[in-house]
């Protein structure tokens, strides 16, 4: 008899949109019909390779099927699960060689990654706490609560060098320490899951695929800072993530990981979900707090920082989803292990959402400091259609465009800032020669202009002015002097705005002006869009769009 096998059907938002819900049901029915008692059909969250959806994996063999539809189910069950012959036509095909790759671990996209934050994504059923526990889940929490003092937990996180994965990269251990040292009768911790950056979807994937990892991190943060209540502030645009967190919280409560006297340690902790209502600026911590309190989500000047005065005026620690998901492995395997990954100043791994003009779109987790070219060509498989790489946009609307001429740029906090972009949330959109850089800047500005909360003048007025100039340029109605005005406004907005949204929103403009000024000039002087993308300046080539 063969050993028991499990068929995992991906039920992340991406795969579900390809009909993987029906595939899951059909597989269960087909397996039952043929009476295969040694096969279990289960589901997982996002594998991070949504472009290949619907994804079906057969474990422990590690066979990886792509683009599975309901019509493929009888063949998978009959030929593979019953007959022992895997279905070759559903294997992943390497875009460079065209060769079929049967196993998960042999696919370049996965082979070259190092998954710490995404450790369980696509490997466990996110709605079953036992599967999380069987992968070592909640061991770190036990260790922290029963063997370590809060100060020791903070010390371990500090030594690990973990920095906030939300974008700014503030050292997590120090953030916790501020809150720990603040004197108050009540403290809070908040998980920031308001992933608003267009082009970033890692927080969604982690919450959908491994919600317990985030919850375990949040409880640990509560213990370390002395908070007894935690909030998860999640975007309303992610209904599946909300559902999975809700289930996970219930299970954690049943097992005694939440509630009173957790694991007999005397520590009480409760977690509440707050759904956002569609405002990008609520990713900013003071705006997020205002939103939880039921007010308009507008930022306020800092200091005082939330660590001194946050929710209800009490000390509050706010951490990103990925930061919290990094905490359990640090506690369990130790700071020494974690700090061997990455660069001297940026420790650990980073999760990037690779998308745009790239063959392998998906979630990529690599050690900090990995060169851009490794990510784009080795993992991402390069640019489709034989086109040339033009630029890589990192950090969403707060980030900038890195030109193809510096492809060896290591991806870490310091280097990205140096080249005029930011790490940000980890969105990485690849652009080829058909992408107009002025239009990209205009696009981001139209986003930040619409999302500017209007509280401070530089951001409210500056984004509008920049957007108008950029629109004029893309329409071929601008003058040369507009470029200087654009630059001056961008600098002013960057320096004078109240919050992170305003301070970073000129980055797409400044970085494209820095690296692609000739494209701006072509629009203005020659009334020509070099990428032939801008609608008003399009050359008549007879090509239908």
């Amino acid at each position: 008899m063969q050993n028991k096998r499990t068929v995992f059907v991906c039920q992340g938002t991406g795969c579900l949109s390809t009909g993987s819900g029906a595939v899951y049901e059909a597989l269960k029915a087909e397996v039952a019909k043929l009476g295969l008692t040694d096969v279990e059909v289960d589901f997982t969250g996002c594998h991070g390779f949504c472009e290949q959806g619907g994804i079906v994996a057969v474990e422990p063999e590690g066979i990886f099927y792509t683009h599975v539809t309901i019509d493929d189910v009888p063949e998978i069950v009959g030929s593979h699960l019953k007959g022992g012959n895997p279905v070759e036509r559903l294997f992943y095909r390497d875009p460079a060689t065209g060769r079929a790759v049967p196993r998960y671990h042999e696919i370049n996209f996965y082979k070259k990654q190092q998954r710490v934050i995404l450790r369980n994504c696509g490997r466990i059923n996110p709605e079953k706490i036992d599967q999380y526990i069987s992968k070592g889940g909640y061991r770190a929490l036990k260790k922290a609560l029963l063997e370590m003092t809060p100060e020791q937990v903070i010390e371990e996180v500090k030594r690990s060098g973990l920095r906030g994965r939300g974008g700014a990269g503030f050292p997590t251990g120090r953030k916790w320490e501020f809150s720990r040292n603040a004197q108050a009768d009540r403290k809070y911790v908040i998980c920031n899951a308001d992933e608003g950056d267009p082009g970033a979807f890692m927080d969604r994937s982690v919450l959908e695929a491994d919600p317990h990892a985030v919850i375990e991190g949040l409880i640990t943060a509560g213990y370390a800072t002395g908070a007894n209540a935690g909030y998860i502030y999640v975007r309303a645009e992610y209904p599946l993530a909300v559902k999975r967190i809700r289930i996970a919280l219930e299970h954690a409560r049943e097992r005694g990981f939440l509630g009173r006297d957790i694991l007999g340690s005397g520590f009480d902790f409760e977690v509440y979900i707050k759904e956002g209502a569609g405002a990008f600026v609520c990713g900013e911590e003071t705006a997020l707090i205002a939103s939880i309190e039921g007010r308009r989500g507008m930022p306020r000047p800092r200091p005082p920082y939330p660590a001194q005065s946050g929710l209800q005026g009490k000390p509050t620690t706010i951490n990103n989803v990925k930061t919290l998901a990094s905490v359990p492995p640090i506690i369990e395997q130790g700071a020494d292990w974690f700090s061997t990954i990455g660069t001297p100043k940026s420790k650990g791994t980073t999760v990037l959402a690779l998308s745009g003009k790239i063959l392998n779109s998906g979630l990529v987790e690599v050690p900090m400091g990995t060169p851009l070219s490794t990510i784009i060509f080795d993992i991402g498989g390069g640019i489709p259609g034989g086109k040339r790489l033009k630029a890589v946009q990192t950090g969403g609307p707060s980030g900038g465009c890195i030109p193809a001429k510096i492809p060896d740029t290591p991806v870490d906090y310091e280097t990205l800032t140096m080249v005029g972009s930011i790490m940000g949330s980890g969105g990485m959109v690849v652009m080829d020669e058909d992408t107009c850089m002025v239009e990209v800047a205009r696009y981001f500005l139209s986003f930040t202009q619409a999302e500017s909360c209007g509280k401070c003048a530089p951001c409210r007025l500056g984004t509008r002015q920049m957007l108008e100039i950029l629109a004029r340029i893309t329409q071929g109605k601008a003058q040369e002097s507009d470029l200087d005005t654009l630059f001056t406004i961008a600098k002013t907005v960057k320096e004078c705005s109240l919050c992170g949204l305003g301070q970073t929103c000129p980055n797409p403009v400044l970085s494209t002006l820095r690296y692609f000024k000739s494209e701006y000039e072509a629009h203005i002087n020659k009334k020509r869009c070099p990428a032939n993308q801008c609608r008003f300046l399009r050359r008549k080539t007879g090509k239908k769009t």
């Binding site: 309303a236 707050k274 569609g278 405002a279 007010r295 989500g297 745009g356």
Partner: protein, 160 residues
């Protein structure tokens, strides 16, 4: 300002009972308004004074929160909601053309509802399914890798 129009189809009692559950809790404003919208499809203007009174807020504070967040609507919307994703990946892969196509096909602009109240066309900043760009969301269901043909099929299915 005009008095909020009184629409008799709106079950004011239901609104009052939603508010009642969270009486006096200022923090509950957003969840309360979300709940009303989930049930009615939008926030009837007549609900605003009721919510304000129940949570001990000024009507202007309630109105302020509703107008601040993109997710809240004060006008009835269509039976089917189409939201075109405008995230970066979708933008790079032709979201603009997708929106134009839908505007042409439905004869409405972004943010509008067809006169027969069947479709409302909206955009969304990013739904996080960037790997399948360009995307649209039809009644909370994500449809990836859209093209003209798929749009045609989707709309046809909706009419059947």
């Amino acid at each position: 300002m005009d008095k909020p129009p009184c629409d008799e189809r709106i079950d004011m009692q239901r609104i009052e009972s939603i508010v009642e559950e969270c009486k006096g809790q200022k923090w509950a404003l957003i969840p309360v308004v979300q709940k009303i919208q989930n049930e009615f499809g939008y926030i009837p203007p007549a609900a605003i004074p009721v919510v304000a009174k129940g949570l001990r807020l000024f009507p202007s504070q309630v109105q302020g929160v509703i107008s601040f967040y993109a997710q809240f609507y004060t006008k009835p919307r269509g039976r089917q909601i189409i939201r075109v994703c405008r995230g970066t990946a979708c933008h790079v892969r032709g979201a603009e053309a997708l929106l134009e196509l839908l505007e042409e096909r439905l004869q409405i602009q972004e943010g509008e509802t067809t006169p027969d109240m069947e479709y409302t066309l909206e955009t969304v900043a990013c739904i996080g399914v960037c790997a399948l760009a360009p995307n649209l969301v039809l009644n909370d269901q994500v449809h990836g890798q859209m093209d003209a043909e798929k749009v045609q099929q989707l709309l046809k299915k909706g009419e059947a």
